[in-house]
């Protein structure tokens, strides 16, 4: 009896919140075709820990202004099993492979998305992709002009980084977050140790782009 009473007292304060009508825009599995999928294939809550392949792709596209002809450098990002994420059941091809029966190629044929988890493959793909982008003169120019809009690009000398420009670079990947004093100091030391300021900036951008931190939820 005491245990029941205790349980009731615990539940009581949250009962009012249970009666609030959910927002109409809330996703409700009970009203959705996904209810069957969820109940038949997953008996546990969906717990994504890292962003999926589409998010990674969109961030890299946004930061480096990757053009449609350059998307091949992002091939790794399209690796479904390593990056997880959505699946277009009606796509006729994906990752360079043309499908005869697109619907059946969408994972198990019934599962429209794969959960994203952390694994070494995704960071290897990420590092490779970042290296390729930063070693591309056009892509490096694109990203650095987001920090120095008047920089002419190419082999022209970049200004040495400072706390403000490091913060700008950091927020290309981390949006509103601050880099912190330790990291800022580390980047300043990194840059001063580099043979040129351009080389220093390449190292800073490689660090930020290849960091797993912007891929975490």
């Amino acid at each position: 009896m005491i245990k029941k009473l205790f349980t009731y007292l615990l539940i009581f304060p949250i009962l009012p919140s249970c009666t609030i009508k959910p927002n109409q825009s809330d996703l409700k599995f009970s009203d959705s075709v996904y209810q069957d999928i969820a109940s038949s294939t997953m008996d546990y809550p969906f717990t994504a820990t890292v962003v999926d392949r589409k998010y990674v792709e969109s961030v890299l596209n946004q930061v480096f202004d990757v053009t449609s002809t350059e998307t091949s450098v992002l091939t790794g990002v399209y690796n479904k099993s390593d990056f997880g994420g959505g699946c277009d059941r009606y796509a006729s091809s994906d990752n360079g492979v043309t499908y005869e029966f697109p619907k059946d190629q969408c994972y198990s044929g019934i599962f429209p998305f794969l959960p994203s988890y952390s694994n070494p493959m995704r960071y290897s793909y990420t590092v490779k992709t970042c290296e390729t982008l930063i070693n591309s003169s056009a892509r490096f120019t694109s990203v650095m002009q987001k920090i120095y809009p008047t920089w002419a690009g190419g082999s022209n000398i970049l200004p040495a980084p400072n706390a403000i420009t490091i913060k700008t670079a950091y927020q290309l990947f981390f949006q509103s977050e601050e880099p912190g004093d330790d990291l800022t100091q580390s980047f300043l030391v990194m840059s001063s140790a580099a043979t040129t300021t351009n080389e220093g900036w390449k190292q800073i951008m490689t660090t930020l782009c290849g960091s797993p931190e912007w891929q975490i939820f």
Binding site: Y44, S108, L114, E131, I134, E199, E213
Partner: protein, 585 residues
């Protein structure tokens, strides 16, 4: 920084680099830059040396390899001893089968169907009596053979387990994720130092459904025709900034270390993402070559063992598959194929399997396990620590030379001659003789493959022992089968399951768990669970198995209220924590 200052800084940097390279220390340097460069350079050399020396703990991680035998094959032919002490009370209970019980492991000349009578026969190996199959041989590489009893020396067989639920899917899931959130493979992976903590073979896209990690790591599927290339290709051919400029690469690592130091306060999953990134870099330092050929070579080795297990006449065992049996239209000879048609098989049921018969996914999963655990000659440590394997649900390529049609009763009618089918392990409509032949050969093939994998693990030194001493290979199925006649075959035996563990931690053939002599719902001593005194009068449950694996592999059990069947001694070897197995009236 002015050009002059920059020049001075460069000169100092060169001086520092030369100083470190010549004397190997930077203790006397004091400025932040000097300390930074010292850390960078020492870090580079320290990590490289550690990797080259192979002194990291990948081989010493505890390893779990889980084989799920799908569709619920009958286990009493192999790892479910029904009379482990030799004289245990036993009941065939033929009430539900007018000819003979399902509970046979051997045929004797007699008056039964086809001129033979079935018998539950055992062979004493070590302290316990194991099913008759264990008196035979298994295949080893290069055409060799070995006594099956060799494999039993390191085997713990837990019987009388009650899964509480009758469901192919749920029972399969329950055994991997006993509490609904902590998976056994995930708990092992979360403690792993290996670069790919967990992999799955045979589950394809559903692999992640059976794996949960508290660190948010993934279990990487390794399926397809070229899984080594698939999983290792991300780490090859990195030709960018980091791999061509060691100083820059180390500077980047240092900056990432600073970010990593604060990552735990942002997200509990984040530190592991940094570890995965570090592991990716380790992998990039390795030299991968010939991956496709390596997989093919290993897979072929295991395929050959499987082929011989099904078709090599020198492996046939007296009383099991050494004489022609067949030619009767009775339930013993009835067989369900995977296309859901059932037949009464022909004159010699030994010919049902041939060297072309196989088990889906078994060879590939063994090849992957061997490579990923031993490092495949590429890495001086294991690549992974937990492996989830779904073994195919049937014996593929079963040859029917002649058959009675269940519909017409005519031998060879309906063009049944020389037709090849797959035999389904969900043996609702498979009779006792056919089960005995096909499942015994199925288990002979599995034993041969496991024995080869074990020998490969024994060949790798890990600490003062071998990799096998750090490894537990668990063999489970959705459930055992009951002896209740069900359309000529046997029904789901979810409340009388068994679970085996093969490990270097087990030093003698071991059987644990109590079963009932008889069952009110499904007759005979087929293995239905009996309450255990050590478990407070409860049946053995998956929680007890989970605690057993936790004891052996040294992770925190997800089911602390369910005691382990074993404890470990000071040498890290298993000793029993429950009494000897009993058949209870």
């Amino acid at each position: 920084m002015s050009n002059e200052n920059k020049k001075n800084e460069m000169d100092r940097r060169n001086f520092l680099l030369k100083s470190i390279q010549s004397v190997g220390t930077g203790i006397l340097m004091a400025s932040p830059l000097e300390m930074f460069l010292t850390n960078v350079l020492m870090g580079v050399f320290g990590r490289a040396n550690a990797l080259a020396a192979g002194d990291e703990s990948g081989y010493l991680d505890k390893k779990l390899v889980n084989l799920t035998l799908t569709n619920g094959p009958s286990r009493w032919f192999w790892d479910l001893p029904l009379r482990p002490n030799g004289n245990d009370a036993f009941s065939y209970n033929t009430t539900n089968d007018p000819i003979t019980s399902m509970l046979i492991t051997k045929l004797n000349a007699g008056s039964g169907g086809g001129g033979y009578t079935g018998e539950y026969a055992s062979v004493k190996i070590g302290e316990y009596y194991l099913p008759h199959l264990w008196s035979g041989l298994m295949a080893t590489p290069n055409g060799g053979t070995a006594p099956m009893s060799n494999l039993a020396q390191n085997m713990l067989m837990m019987r009388g387990l009650d899964w509480k639920v009758d469901s192919h899917e749920l029972d399969r899931y329950l055994q991997m994720v006993p509490t609904g959130n902590s998976s056994l493979l995930g708990l092992v992976a979360d403690k792993a130092t290996t670069v790919l903590p967990s992999i799955g073979v045979g589950f394809s896209a559903t692999n992640s459904n059976f794996f949960h990690s508290g660190k948010g790591i993934t279990s990487r599927a390794m399926d397809g025709n070229d899984p080594f290339t698939s999983v290792f290709s991300p780490f090859t051919n990195s030709a960018g900034l980091r791999s061509t400029n060691a100083i820059a690469g180390a500077a980047i690592d240092r900056a990432l270390d600073i970010m990593k130091a604060k990552s735990g306060s942002k997200s509990s999953y984040l530190p592991n993402t940094y570890q995965d990134r570090a592991n990716a870099k380790k992998m990039m330092l390795l030299q991968f070559s010939g991956l496709s050929a390596s997989f093919l070579t290993l897979k072929t080795k295991y395929e050959n063992l499987i082929s011989r297990s099904f078709g090599d006449v020198s492996l046939r065992l007296a009383g099991l598959d050494n004489v022609a049996v067949g030619g009767a239209q009775s339930n013993q000879y009835r067989m369900l194929f995977s296309n859901r048609n059932s037949f009464y098989t022909g004159a010699d049921i030994r010919t049902l399997t041939t060297i072309n018969s196989t088990i889906a996914n078994l060879a590939a999963s063994m090849a992957v396990s061997e490579f990923m655990l031993t490092g495949g000659g590429i890495s001086p440590q294991s690549f992974t620590s937990s492996i989830n394997i779904m073994v195919g649900d049937s014996v593929n390529n079963v040859a029917v030379d002649s058959a009675f049609s269940a519909a017409s009763g005519a031998l060879g009618s309906q063009n049944f001659s020389n037709i090849t089918y797959d035999f389904n392990s969900d043996a609702h409509e498979t009779g006792s003789y056919i089960q005995m032949i096909l499942f015994s050969r199925y288990y002979r093939a599995i034993s041969s493959c496991l024995y080869e994998l074990v020998n490969q693990l024994k060949a790798v030194t890990a600490g003062s022992g071998t990799l096998f001493d750090q490894t537990a290979i668990s063999i489970t199925s959705e459930f055992n089968r009951s002896a209740r006649n069900n359309a000529g075959g046997a029904d789901h035996g979810w409340n009388g399951s068994c679970y085996s563990i093969i490990s270097g931690m087990v030093t003698q053939p071991t059987v644990a768990g109590d079963i009932k002599v008889n069952s009110t719902t499904a007759g005979g001593s087929w293995g239905i669970a009996s309450p255990m005194t050590e478990f407070s009068g409860q049946n053995g449950l998956i929680g007890n198995v989970a605690s057993t694996l936790a004891t052996m592999l040294e992770f925190k059990t997800p089911t602390p209220n369910n005691p382990s069947y074993v404890s470990k001694n000071s040498l890290g070897k298993v000793q029993m924590a429950v009494a000897k197995p009993k058949n209870v009236a």
